[in-house]
Symmetry: D2
Amino acid sequence: MNVEAALTHDPERRRDLAHVGPVELYTPVLEASRDFFVNQMALTEVGRDERSVYLHAWDDYQSWTLRLIEREQAGVGTTFLRAASAGAYERMRAAIEASGQRVDLDDGVRGLGEVTRFADPDGHPMAVYWDVDWYEAGDGDRPSLKNQAAAFPGRGANVRRLDHVNYLTKDVPNTSRFLSEVLGARCTERIVTDEGEDAAIWYSLGNKSYDLVYTEDWTGANGRLHHIAFATDTREDILRAADVMLEAGIHIETGPHKHAIQQTFFLYVWEPGGNRIELCNAGARLILAPDWKTISWTAAERAKGQAWGLKTIDTFHTHGTPLV
Amino acid sequence: MNVEAALTHDPERRRDLAHVGPVELYTPVLEASRDFFVNQMALTEVGRDERSVYLHAWDDYQSWTLRLIEREQAGVGTTFLRAASAGAYERMRAAIEASGQRVDLDDGVRGLGEVTRFADPDGHPMAVYWDVDWYEAGDGDRPSLKNQAAAFPGRGANVRRLDHVNYLTKDVPNTSRFLSEVLGARCTERIVTDEGEDAAIWYSLGNKSYDLVYTEDWTGANGRLHHIAFATDTREDILRAADVMLEAGIHIETGPHKHAIQQTFFLYVWEPGGNRIELCNAGARLILAPDWKTISWTAAERAKGQAWGLKTIDTFHTHGTPLV
Amino acid sequence: MNVEAALTHDPERRRDLAHVGPVELYTPVLEASRDFFVNQMALTEVGRDERSVYLHAWDDYQSWTLRLIEREQAGVGTTFLRAASAGAYERMRAAIEASGQRVDLDDGVRGLGEVTRFADPDGHPMAVYWDVDWYEAGDGDRPSLKNQAAAFPGRGANVRRLDHVNYLTKDVPNTSRFLSEVLGARCTERIVTDEGEDAAIWYSLGNKSYDLVYTEDWTGANGRLHHIAFATDTREDILRAADVMLEAGIHIETGPHKHAIQQTFFLYVWEPGGNRIELCNAGARLILAPDWKTISWTAAERAKGQAWGLKTIDTFHTHGTPLV
Amino acid sequence: MNVEAALTHDPERRRDLAHVGPVELYTPVLEASRDFFVNQMALTEVGRDERSVYLHAWDDYQSWTLRLIEREQAGVGTTFLRAASAGAYERMRAAIEASGQRVDLDDGVRGLGEVTRFADPDGHPMAVYWDVDWYEAGDGDRPSLKNQAAAFPGRGANVRRLDHVNYLTKDVPNTSRFLSEVLGARCTERIVTDEGEDAAIWYSLGNKSYDLVYTEDWTGANGRLHHIAFATDTREDILRAADVMLEAGIHIETGPHKHAIQQTFFLYVWEPGGNRIELCNAGARLILAPDWKTISWTAAERAKGQAWGLKTIDTFHTHGTPLV
């Protein structure tokens, strides 16, 4: 396939996906993972069933942000993507079907209307939806300012909302084509090998500089997760979060530091179930240009390390969930 | 007219405007205003002609951000709005013409291709454009990371980019209808009087929670400016900027504090020419919901002051440029 | 008396007081005040008796920081001051006695050895001590780094330690003389009226720019409190604390802003019992000069407002506890 | 010698040193080093002679903070230590002489009165002084608030003041005894080898948790410098400084991160002359206890890395100036 073609974004094309919506995460230690997200990350438990817990980040307009599901192995479940309109939802389903991916309708997802389930080329389960329940704050979390979803928790890392998901994939170019041609996302940055192959791709759905990221999986496995990221309001929140993680005995993998790619200020930790979780802050950086030109990073540029020189930690290239 | 109708956003409608682009500002003291924007705000001078200076903010992808024009009275010149595509540019021109506003083509604007000039219902000069020159850093400001437009200046307030323009208008409801129905912008928040009239409106073009704001002008004048705002990466940048302004003898009108409306962390100063300038930071707050429901603030809610209780300063209701 | 004489600090004189130690606060609503200090300020309850609760700030090396005592009226109880050595304790007792103030020994104070009780000239109860129990963290709050007293709480305002106490006094000059000549403190800044009288004084015991502050009480009452202040590590902590207070319904009196005097970044709230509480951050500002020259602020300088122009709120001049 | 004895601080002993005063730094590239300290660190040039430049940090009450001296090899020149009083100056000279170290009087140092020159046991040149010229701001840097030495520069890293000096020494225990017994400093933290030997020591003169640090020099050389540190008001200043250094092409050795020892938030860079420079922020952490118990870190504890897990970079153990 022609990667460059995939990267050429037609600004006249409709943007039919609005944002990365709620996401599911597998964990072998449901209650420990739940406690991490509630106590250290500052999400709130908003529901549970026999083998899963629903959590909400304080400024997510939707009824839930993250569902933890008990399973033998950690990993990522379904990523839900909100369509930009009712018509966009229909167009998106048609486009996915036309691409040859199988679609399944499901109207049994908590807090969402009908969803169209599918998988990306690497097998990660995904779904598109339009109808959604808005979060309704109760007596315990009614915000003082009515333009936010729930009260500011004042607890742990105080993450505001889900930011992005970073998947591992066996075939970056093929996945890139799917994101660009089928989902209509825009590639804002990428890593290119000396052989000219894409090794990692950052795709954006709106003004955030990325929402969906894929990194090459060297193990040859399918459907694995690199990390899920949550946004904080400031870099100071992330520095404080590092102390919070330290005190709670949560494994800090790397950071705080600033990525060269996308310039995100980051902290990576492993939640008790083993999934890598990022806390991130982009400052005021947004992609406002509708014809943004994809930034390509070479191996030589990557060798300089992160923005301020931090070397990428070994586990960053090897740890994914499920473990293989 | 029916304000509610204007506020009802059709998510199926195309978003044909991408962002607020470069803007012009009038000043009776050109060099003093230029020095303020260069030394305190950290823009860079990138060009000048007989009676004006072009300035660039370090992460603006376009060739210039702000043009200062010498004139007897301070105020706002043309606001340029970038279309989302070549087709969107054509559709936007047709929509403005169809609304009854006069349009004029101009291909002589520095750094832009053909622009379609028009005026909003209150008479503020505006223009839509698609073709644009990208900023090209030179030896003196080449950034170390190639995903930003120019080197981080490390000077004064270090504002990253233009954020929004806040105009005064005699007729808020009529302006609101124009923004919604003609420009296709979305009203994310508004102030409603006890009589049910809109007194101020915040309109968004993308995921930023607002780009164009109109506040009622009690003087009965037309075409006046409330303020132009520039975004910083952190709230700390704004605290530091307050010290920078203090040392430079720049009048601090109010802040730093946090707005209740839109929750922006702000500082308002008057540049030497008399125009009000805001430094603002939104944290990680974005409008991701394509069907965001306009937040309406009543007079009673407004009486509580800003988010943390600061009372709105008198001049905030009276000072606009040009002075009347 | 000769105010100037009081302000002339002899650098050869021994510094016999080390710091402001634990302090007592009266409240008519013990449990509500306790909840404020635990949930919003991030102190920890470490003990209680029939009518009082002992609280500890996470980096206080001593066994408790604040004791809340139930009483009909809010106000300040005893301020404990730690001597710089065993010998200093004896010298301090002798100096207080020699000044004509009555002293009483008490060995029944929780966590302290023998204390010497006395009152300042305005009647505020005080005590000097040397022997002290160090804080011993338990399983629930053992810090990951052994050079801090207890685990970082990651809750609310996360105040690190007590910073200073600001008292109201009927007679500033007389109090100033006592602080300087008897307690051996140094006056680092002061407000002087147009008549040349001291209206407020900031006294320091070490490198912190102030520890004990007295402001003129216009009501003619004795022994009242202006506020007690707790230090945070960053200004960002104080911005976040403002949101925490907003969500908890705690009255924010003024701030966040930066004082012109002493340049402290501040937030003032009223705890549920009515006492004014400050959250403060001094950045890296310290008084390192052993012969620091007292800074005197005139009424004209005060009229400029705080550092960035905020006008002093009326209640700041009138609200003290107990109410009169 | 008995290290424990050296560490036992007698709180009754007078503190005769007030702070680390101005310091001299050698550089083979005088103008490049000067530009680094002016443009990136935000010091101001306040004087120069044939082969040296005097620089001032904006809140240093003294007339100069750092003198850069041209020399073939980088390294540290004289560290000046201010006595706590005129009497303390005399006592300090007597104590140094009594210890067997040679002392020399010199009244020719810019901005200082008579100084008593000596060397520490490892040969680093030092001097004690009492009389000092206070900084007098001029038209270009008069501060808006009169309780700071000079105007806030709003440039680069905006360091407020000198913070500490970290020397390399062949014999840590012997140096420790000199600091404790002769200079009367207090050891607040230290690294102890598995053999029970001190490998690094942090000594404090006042409430700052350290002012003079010595680390074992594995090369066997004498009189070398590990680094000189400057304090910023916030951690955010240090994050921003990292971008400033990145853009200026200054080598970032490690950081930003948080030390486990002393908990300082840090960034280490190499100035153009090769000397390691630290930017540091301690938050509100101070040593208020007059009987603080020295914290001892073992090799096993050190192996955990810095506070949030960053591994100590190899050059941190090998790079010192002069190079050997």
